[in-house]
Amino acid sequence: MKALAARRHHRAAPVVLLLMALLAVGGVYAAFAPSPAQAATASTADIETGKKLFQANCATCHGPSAEGTDIAPSLVGVGAAAVDFQVSTGRMPMAMDGPQAPAKPPQMNEEQTAALAAYVASLGAGPAIPTDDQVDPTQGDAAEGMALFRTNCAMCHNAVGAGGALSSGKAAPSLMNTSDRNIFQAMETGPGPMPVFNDAVITAEGKRDIIAFLTEQDKGSAGGNPLGGLGPVAEGLWAWVLGLAVMIGGAVWIGAKSS
């Protein structure tokens, strides 16, 4: 505190105070903000709000009643899960046209997302947003999950979910920072180039097992730094730029004339 007192009259003090205040307000808001589980039950009011949001943000491409246009698919029957995935990962609304919609900071808050999802769900039956139980990694079997993951997912998303390339500039994103809910939704709805893995192809328990396997990866690698989980190319690069470079440095030291 002494140090703080000594700096009380520092010029930056007001800025720091302002930042602290903002952080405090943000923290309080975060603590009391409605969680998606609480907002799961859709009311008529939500649907109305969602419709307005849709008209303002989505209708340009998806059509005024979400029936689809030449540039964007119909959203009738895609379900709340698809909307929640696309909007909460920031993929929709799209910023600009490209090979695929990239993830970015979400443009809508959780309430708005829930309202949009409720509206689209009201247009036709589709996959619902999964419950917390459905995506709970502690209830899944990581071994079953790994077996499913490596047959169905690893070829695009890499063995540990680090992501990988698809053709023509598309890419399967890294799953390392994707929420359990979004992983479930992606499998169920098949966003963008990704195929659909409905409950017949990978059962709901299977999906939870996959989430459990991915959660295991949070423990990191038993061998130390995982080098991005990218495999032999990354390892080769490290062997050259770190290992061999240090050894050549050693050789230069050994060979240098001492003064």
């Binding site: 295991e216 038993a222 050894m247 050994i254």
Partner: protein, 571 residues
């Protein structure tokens, strides 16, 4: 440098030793005449340079491979029998897998220090191949492969190929999905070989891919055949090195007839021994902190899955890239409905064949176009042999482009590019890149040689500006020291072979003229562009100019000749 003990009393000390060490030495010498070897080698002189230690990195990482490999072999089970793994790792607990994969998991997770040894072993393998490559580059660019070392170059090449075999066979042992797909690619390449391909596949796998034998077979290859051959050839490689005595870089007092450097004992014993511990230490640090080939992420081999980023270890990447770049249209069906998979044969057999043939044949090719049968023990500065240096860089460019092509999916994701576009760029670059780097390197070498000439003729820039009475400013240059000059003038600018006329004096056409003419053309390609070293006469001529300048400077008078000599001066 041998010092003889001329005093008979001193000699007696050696023939009738009293100390325990002396007695032990006497015991040994009476049975092995080891004294001769000690006399010969203890104070043998080796030249010192950091680049002479690149091969040492390879040697010592091989020793580390042997040490850690023995550890691993004690715990690894080379069997494809299916077992259910009951270890603690949640993602594989209770899964059915081969004993090879299960024992790899056990030695990583249950054996104390097992994972450390595995990781040191794998890092050492990557460094082993990398150091072989840089060692070869050093030998190539400095011309150390010239007579009498051509055969040792071949031994080294064979060692490199054996290194590839050792790496590949070891990489496949844990029987995981990644290496299993590597084996499947190998199977596909083998099947593409005309006529005998299918049978070779059966020969390797003991039936259809993958069968139940391949891990045990690769194990024998990996721990017996290949390391045995590598050890024997390392012995031959080092024996020839000692026999030839090491090459040395050019410099004052260093000729093809002597070797200048430090004695083996104690300087090199300490430096080499220290280097071994240093290299082992770095490898231990890498094994301790950087995970490598975490097979539990890939899972036990199953022919159905594959993961993104499916690549071999770096030294096989060029083959992977070569396979990726080849367009598929090359597969053809020949007469009699036989399939000729040129889309696989060209990238997997022809291209590596060309690369290795170039390396194998180069020393003999260069000797032929140089028309040189002398021994060479003083190394070339790369700039003084522009075409060789250019060819080496072109070769390296092709190798790097192929390796990058083998990583094109990672390039695509990390730089947000289209994989199809990258593939096309590399297809073009594979042909244009080496040509371009050859031209650029050759020009840079010639430019550096000219810079050397300038430096020898006119000395260093001193930073002292002198103004003449005429108003002209010149910078005074300080001449090079004898050592500095010697480094820059002590080389031969080889000239192309002379071609004897097609017909002899009596007008009879000579036999073999056409082939001679082709060699002569190749020789011209090598040595047409060259920069001759400065001669004393030229230097004297340059000095006359300088002296005139200096004299004029002293007189402070007008310098009539200044403009005509201005080319000599840095203005």
């Amino acid at each position: 440098m041998s010092t003889t003990a001329s005093n008979p009393k001193d000699l007696k000390k050696y023939t009738d030793p009293k100390t325990p060490a002396g007695k032990a030495a006497d015991y040994l010498d009476q049975r092995t005449s080891i004294g001769v070897a000690v006399k010969e080698f203890a104070r043998k002189v080796f030249p010192d340079h950091w680049s002479f230690m690149l091969g040492e990195i390879a040697l010592f990482s091989f020793v580390v491979l042997l040490i850690t490999g023995v550890f691993l072999a004690l715990f690894f089970q080379p069997s494809m029998a299916l077992v259910r793994w009951e270890g603690d790792l949640p993602q594989l607990h209770g899964q059915l897998m081969s004993a090879a994969f299960a024992s790899t998991l056990d030695l990583s997770f249950e054996v104390r220090g097992g994972l450390l040894m595995r990781q040191i072993h794998h890092w050492s393998a990557l460094i082993f191949m990398a150091s072989i490559v840089v060692h070869m580059l050093r030998v190539f660019f400095t011309g150390a492969f010239r007579k009498p070392r051509e055969l040792n170059w071949l031994v080294g090449m064979t060692l490199m190929i054996l290194g590839l075999a050792a790496g590949f066979s070891g990489y496949s042992l844990p029987d995981d999905v990644l290496s299993g797909n590597g084996l499947r690619i190998t199977d596909g390449v083998v099947k593409s070989i005309p006529i005998i391909g299918s049978y070779m596949s059966y020969f390797i796998f003991g039936g259809e891919f993958p069968g139940e034998h391949i891990v045990a077979r690769l194990f024998t290859v990996h721990i017996l055949l290949v390391p045995g051959l590598i050890l024997a050839l390392i012995g031959l490689h080092l024996f020839l090195m000692v026999l030839h005595k090491h090459t040395q870089y050019p410099g004052g007092g260093r000729t093809d007839k002597n070797v200048v450097g430090f004695p083996a004992f104690p300087v090199y014993v300490a430096k080499m021994g220290g280097n071994f511990f240093f290299i082992f230490g770095v490898l231990a640090l890498m094994g301790a902190t950087l995970s490598i080939n975490s097979v539990w992420n890939y899972g036990p081999y199953d022919p159905s899955p594959v993961s993104a980023g499916a690549q071999p270890d770096w030294y096989m990447l060029f083959l992977e890239g070569s396979l990726r770049l080849m367009p598929g249209q090359a597969e053809i069906v020949t007469w009699g409905d036989f399939t000729l998979s040129l889309n696989v044969l060209i990238p997997a057999v022809v291209i590596p064949g060309l690369l290795f043939t170039f390396l194998l044949a180069y020393p003999f090719l260069e000797a032929k176009v140089t028309g040189d049968r002398r021994e060479h023990h003083v190394l070339d500065r790369p700039r003084n042999v522009p075409v060789r240096t250019g060819l080496g860089v072109a070769f390296l460019t092709a190798f790097v482009i192929l390796a990058l092509a083998g990583s094109n999916d990672l390039i695509a994701t990390h730089f947000h590019l289209s994989i199809n576009a990258i593939t096309w760029v590399f297809r073009v670059l594979l042909f244009v890149g080496p040509w371009f780097t050859f031209q650029v390197t050759k020009r840079i070498c010639l430019g550096l040689q000219r810079k050397d000439r300038e430096l020898v003729l006119h000395g260093h820039e001193s930073g002292r500006i002198v103004r003449f009475a005429s108003g002209e400013y010149v910078e005074v240059h300080t001449p090079l020291s004898d050592q500095e000059r010697w480094l820059r003038v002590n080389y031969e600018a080889t000239r192309p072979l002379e071609l004897a006329p097609a017909a002899d004096a009596r007008g009879v056409k000579r036999k073999g003229y056409a082939s001679e003419k082709r060699w002569h053309q190749l020789s011209r390609f090598f040595y047409e562009d060259r920069v001759e070293p400065v001669t004393p006469t030229e230097l004297a001529a340059a000095h006359t100019t300088h002296d005139a300048l200096a004299a004029a400077d002293e007189r402070g008078g007008e310098l009539a000749t200044a403009s005509s000599h201005s080319a000599d001066l840095e203005r």
